[in-house]
């Protein structure tokens, strides 16, 4: 435990980001150049925070009386969040101009939501988790309705808010029960006295309600109903961020909550819970995605299925599968943001050109976008040598290690189903004749975001060990 005044120093990434948010607000208020300055200011901010965190990964301490953990696992997640936000900001430059929603709030809200995620990832106390969760969620509710002139945006925002609040209600109730039975909000305390609390059914119910609340956030079946509507209705770039960094943040909390509790002797309740969630999510997500022709909606269902694959890792509950989930999240962030960026480029001004038909013959319009779209689809389908393959591989392998081979088999089968709708996009891109003529405008930012994500998806697919070793060393 470091000396008290040193503790603040370890929080530097969070402090820098907070100051950055305040500065952004001031820039917005006092200058007229907010719209031009903030994209670059935010990018630099995310770049700094992300890399500062990952560089200081080995400064792994519990500070503030054990309420938060810095370095290590939290650093890895900070990196994922910030890179996701950075890519989103880069990628959305074209999109928000196209829709005339180039507001400064957009950047400030993204910054705030990232701060919320970072608080979630470092929390080691249920109240801190809640604080971070609300900060992130409220930002997302607003971001979802960013384009207030469009009714679909308003609908998405409201639905998200209503159902999100509903889920939050359960989380709060769960926190109350856990606090009531343990007399503490410290996660460390739960771990240490788990066997003692375990016999108390109210404690188990409390924990389950917490897990259910976060199952909502990761978009797992049967708490997934909001996902297709919200993902489809929100601005595409926002969907990209919600479906990746938002999901990663919720998973970071699940990893903390389950942490060591599953390695205790009676994990059967949680394991069963996540096994069922995993099976339902992978199958429902993959199967319904087949019937979708709207790409955003298809990716929403795909996101449900991916939550299911990762939930397999939660059910497995060993260090290896947890490391696998973290790897999976990193991979998922890159491939999904890449895919959403391309969708945001193709779609027209008024939510047109979102269906598969608009992708017919994309190869002729833009060979680059066609190739990258195929790359992301292959990655999402989990075909080597893309990063998506190893994400699934590690998680499934973790399941086998925990004697949950059947769950891994279900996972593989549902991946098989999912190949159909992913590759259908590739078929449209390359083998169908164009039936619409339109111009694709892309700026440096979008090109950069797509190239970067594509490169990372390939890089982590060819050298999975480089990332996995880092994760394994710090996930405990």
């Amino acid at each position: 435990m470091p000396a008290n005044n040193y503790e603040y120093f370890l929080l530097l990434p969070h402090i820098v980001l907070s100051v950055g948010i305040v500065l952004s607000i001031l820039i917005e208020i006092f200058t007229r150049k907010g719209k031009e300055v903030l994209p670059w200011f935010s990018s630099l901010l995310f770049l700094f925070v992300g890399f500062y965190s990952i560089i200081n990964i080995d400064k792994n301490f519990f500070i503030f009386g054990g309420m938060v953990e810095v370095g290590g696992r939290a650093s890895i997640f900070n990196f994922i969040f910030n890179i996701a936000a950075l890519l989103t900001v880069l990628a959305s430059t074209d999109y928000i101009k196209k829709y005339g929603i180039n507001y400064s709030e957009y950047y400030i809200l993204i910054q705030s939501s990232v701060l919320g995620m970072m608080v979630m990832a470092m929390a080691h106390d249920i109240l801190v988790i809640f604080m971070g969760l609300e900060l992130m969620s409220i930002c997302f509710y607003i971001l979802a309705g960013l384009n207030r002139k469009r009714s679909s945006n308003n609908e998405a925002s409201l639905k998200y808010f209503l159902l999100g609040s509903f889920a939050t209600g359960f989380i709060v109730y769960g926190i109350a029960l856990v606090y009531g039975t343990t007399g503490s909000t410290s996660i460390q305390n739960i771990f240490e006295n788990f066997m003692q609390y375990f016999n108390n059914i109210l404690f188990i119910v409390g924990m389950l309600l917490l897990l259910i609340g976060f199952s909502f956030k990761i978009a797992a079946v049967p708490f997934h109903m909001w996902v297709p509507d919200v993902y489809q209705g929100s601005a595409t770039s926002v969907t990209g961020l919600m479906s990746t960094a938002g999901k990663a943040a919720a998973f970071s909390v699940l990893l903390i909550l389950l942490g060591t509790s599953l390695s205790y002797s009676s994990p059967i309740v949680f394991r069963n819970y996540f096994s069922v969630i995993a099976v339902l999510s992978t199958l429902v997500g993959s199967i319904i995605a087949i019937a979708q022709t709207n790409l955003k909606r298809m990716l929403a269902y795909s996101s449900i299925a991916h939550a299911g694959y990762m939930a397999i890792g939660l059910a497995a509950g060993n260090n290896y599968s947890f490391a696998g989930i973290t790897f999976y999240l990193a991979a998922y962030v890159f491939m999904n943001i890449g895919a959403f960026t391309i969708i945001s480029l193709i779609e027209g001004k008024d939510e047109t050109r979102l269906t598969l038909n608009s992708y017919a013959g994309l190869n002729k319009k833009s060979p680059f976008l066609a190739a990258m779209m195929s790359l992301f689809m292959f990655a999402l389908a989990g075909i080597p040598p893309m990063a998506g393959f190893f994400g699934k591989y590690y998680v499934f392998f973790g399941a086998i290690k925990s004697d949950l081979t059947w769950l891994a088999i279900v996972g593989v089968l549902s991946s098989l189903i999912s190949v159909y709708f992913y590759l259908r996009v590739v078929v449209y891109v390359y083998f169908m004749n164009e039936n619409e003529q339109f111009e694709i405008e892309k700026s440096v930012g979008s090109n950069l975001a797509i190239s970067l994500t594509g490169l990372l998806v390939l890089l982590f697919g060819i050298f999975p060990d480089s990332l996995m070793n880092l994760i394994v060393n710090f996930i405990k």
């Binding site: 639905k159 209503l162 159902l163 259910i212 109903m225 509507d229 019937a291 392998f397 060990d465 480089s466």
Partner: protein, 646 residues
């Protein structure tokens, strides 16, 4: 320089990417050619540097591993992407980059004006990249990566002129044939690899070979491993029964035939057997199989070569035959002799092919030697270098081919049997005959081409200089491996250099046979005399009395047709393997199993899922109250089960 060895792989890759991506936009052939050649040239210099550095090290430290990155580390399977720089890989590396560089230079002239100029050089670079991975890899998986890579390049380059016809079909068909036949071999290789991993729990060369001498492994297992690996080798190195693709591979441009289908890629099988020498030495019965297959291939291919009329076909069969010699050597435990022959063969066979290319170039794409004749005075440089290469391959004393072939024949006798030696010498006689037949029909005698249309001319310097360098190497290349009978027990530099690699295998094989120097010199003299008489006979027949050839061929019409049609092997395969598979695939697998059963099931399931999806989709009503209800229901179910499970 050893630590820089990864550059020898990286540079050709960069060359491939550069020419592959931007080549079509660069209109200047010089830039493309220089980039393509220089990447290989620099690689060669680095290999030379690593070679010199390794030579300066004491013998025990000459095997160095250069780790690049960890490739896979999952569940006990730990594969490092690492390169093994030792005597064997350096020897092969020198051959590949050295001869490869000369052929790249030659191609600058040969491919001049071709519309796929940039494509050609990018493929060639890709080939060098894959080949260097094959020989430098420190485990079976990296070797396999290169193995598949060279197969791909071979396919791409055989079908390089995809719009041209080749014999009865197209070049693409020849390319496909090569690819498919190689896949059969690769399948064997894969099985061998699985068995190795299963037995030794590793794919790393050093670990596997160390365990091979210490683990209690039955001879049956060793035999299976060696057999599977050897099947892989017969595919890549064109041995019976998988040799049929190599003659058709001549559909590719001639520099490709020289580089891939003579000097380097086809020797990959020999290299692999040699690398895994301890595994083969532990399976004596498979060693005999290797030797016999090698010997039969050598004999069969040489006899086919006697009557072929396409200049490249003769050389192709000659390559198959020489590869047979190399396997004969490996099969009798003379691994160093097999690699020695790989080296000398690379020199003279590359030279023969490039010379043939020069002739074809000067004769306006004519390849039939019956339409040549008297070209000596039109292309003197090509003639002299071709003549030297012919002397080398026929084993005229003093030239490189003599030393390597003699070492193989002597080992075949000393460690094998007299019959091996006898067939080997018979093959050598045939080799001498068909090579001088080729030489005579091309460069001597009457000019049989049409003077109005064909104006033979010498090739430019960019093509003839590589010929001269290769001719020089064909002459002196053998002196590093002089027979022990002349230079004493430790005088054979080549064998001394490679000796540490084969030590475990040699200990296992332990040849104790004693043979006198007299025996060795006598056998050598006999083979030389026989080869010289075959040369004399061939020269006599094809320059002075061509009617003898005709009367012989008409007298033994059956035999002649058998040889001309290559023992009908292609036809037999067509009837016994290809047709049944094709018919079976079409009637049974395609129209019944695939269309009815599999497609039916798949489409049925897909239809079902599709219908299911349409139905489930309807649950998504869009009403937020309904969504909340589903959530509540979910929570209720979870809590319900919780209460009942406690």
């Amino acid at each position: 320089m050893i630590n820089l060895i990864y550059l020898t792989v990286l540079l050709p890759l960069i060359g491939f990417l550069f020419n592959g991506l931007f080549g079509s936009k660069i209109k200047n052939e010089k830039i493309i050619g220089i980039i393509g050649s220089s990447t290989v040239g620099i690689s060669f210099l680095i290999v030379v540097g690593a070679f010199i550095q390794t030579l300066s090290l004491p013998v025990e430290q000459r095997s160095n591993t250069v780790e690049i990155f960890t490739w896979l580390n999952v569940a006990g399977l730990n594969i490092k992407f690492a390169y093994l720089v030792d005597q064997l890989s350096l020897t092969m590396g020198l051959i590949v980059t050295g001869v490869g560089f000369l052929i790249h230079i030659y191609s600058i002239g040969y491919m001049h004006g071709d519309k796929g100029y940039w494509r050609f050089f990018s493929y060639l670079n890709l080939f060098i990249f894959a080949m260097m991975n094959l020989i430098l890899g420190d485990n079976f998986l990296v070797l396999f990566l290169g193995w598949e890579g060279v197969g791909l390049c071979s396919y791409l380059l055989i079908g390089f002129w995809y719009d041209r016809n080749f014999e009865k079909g197209t070049t693409s068909q020849a390319a496909k044939k090569a690819f498919v036949v190689n896949r059969i071999g690769d399948f064997g290789f894969l099985l061998g690899m699985f068995l190795i991993y299963f037995t030794f729990d590793s794919l790393n060369f050093k670990e596997v070979f160390a365990k091979a001498t210490t683990f209690p492994v039955t001879e049956t297992t060793f035999s299976l491993i060696a057999l599977f690996l050897f099947i892989g080798a017969t595919g890549k190195s064109a041995q019976i029964p998988l040799f049929v693709w190599l003659p058709d591979a001549m559909a590719g441009p001639t520099p490709v035939s020289a580089l891939i289908h003579a000097a380097t890629m086809v020797t990959a099988g020999v290299y692999m057997v040699s690398r895994a020498s301890i595994l083969f030495a532990s399976a004596p019965s498979i060693m005999i199989v290797v030797a016999v297959i090698g010997l039969l291939t050598a004999l069969m291919a040489a006899s086919i070569g006697l009557v072929q009329n396409d200049i490249k076909k003769v050389l192709a069969y000659s390559t198959v035959s020489q590869l047979g010699y190399m396997f004969l050597a490996a099969g009798v435990g003379a691994f160093s002799a097999s690699i020695f022959h790989v080296m000398t063969h690379a020199f003279f066979k590359a030279l023969l092919f490039l010379g043939a290319g020069s002739v074809i170039h000067g004769m306006h794409e004519e390849q039939n030697i019956q339409n040549y004749g008297g070209l000596k005075k039109y292309m003197p440089k090509t003639y002299i270098t071709f003549f030297i290469a012919t002397l080398a391959i026929t084993g005229v004393p003093g030239l490189s081919g003599f030393f390597s072939k003699d070492e193989i024949l002597w080992n075949a006798y000393a460690n094998g049997s007299f019959v091996f030696w006898l067939i080997g010498v018979l093959t050598a006689m045939m080799t001498a005959f068909y090579m001088f037949r080729l030489l005579s029909l091309t460069f001597y005698g009457n000019e049989r081409f049409d003077h109005h249309h064909v104006h033979p001319h010498e090739s430019p310097a960019v093509m003839t200089v590589p010929l001269m360098i290769l001719a020089f190497l064909s002459v002196v290349g053998g002196f590093v491996g002089m027979p022990k009978v002349f230079v004493g027990e430790h005088g054979n530099l080549f064998e001394n250099w490679l000796e540490p690699i084969y030590k475990p295998a040699q200990l296992k094989l332990a040849h104790f046979g004693m043979h006198s120097h007299f025996e060795e010199i006598l056998l050598m003299a006999i083979s030389v005399v026989l080869a010289l008489s075959a040369i004399y006979f061939a020269l006599k027949v094809y320059t002075q009395k061509p009617e003898i050839a005709e009367s012989v061929s008409s007298k033994f019409k059956g035999l002649y047709n058998l040889l001309l049609n290559k023992y009908f092997v292609d036809e037999i395969y067509e009837a016994s393997v290809v047709q049944p598979i094709q018919k079976g695939s079409e009637k049974l697998l395609w129209k019944f199993a695939d269309v009815k059963i599999i497609d039916g099931a798949v489409n049925g399931v897909a239809l079902l899922i599709d219908k299911l999806a349409e139905q489930i989709k309807k649950i998504q009503t869009g009403f937020v109250q309904y969504y909340a209800l589903v959530m509540i229901a979910g929570i209720a179910v979870v809590l319900f089960f919780l209460l009942f499970s406690l």
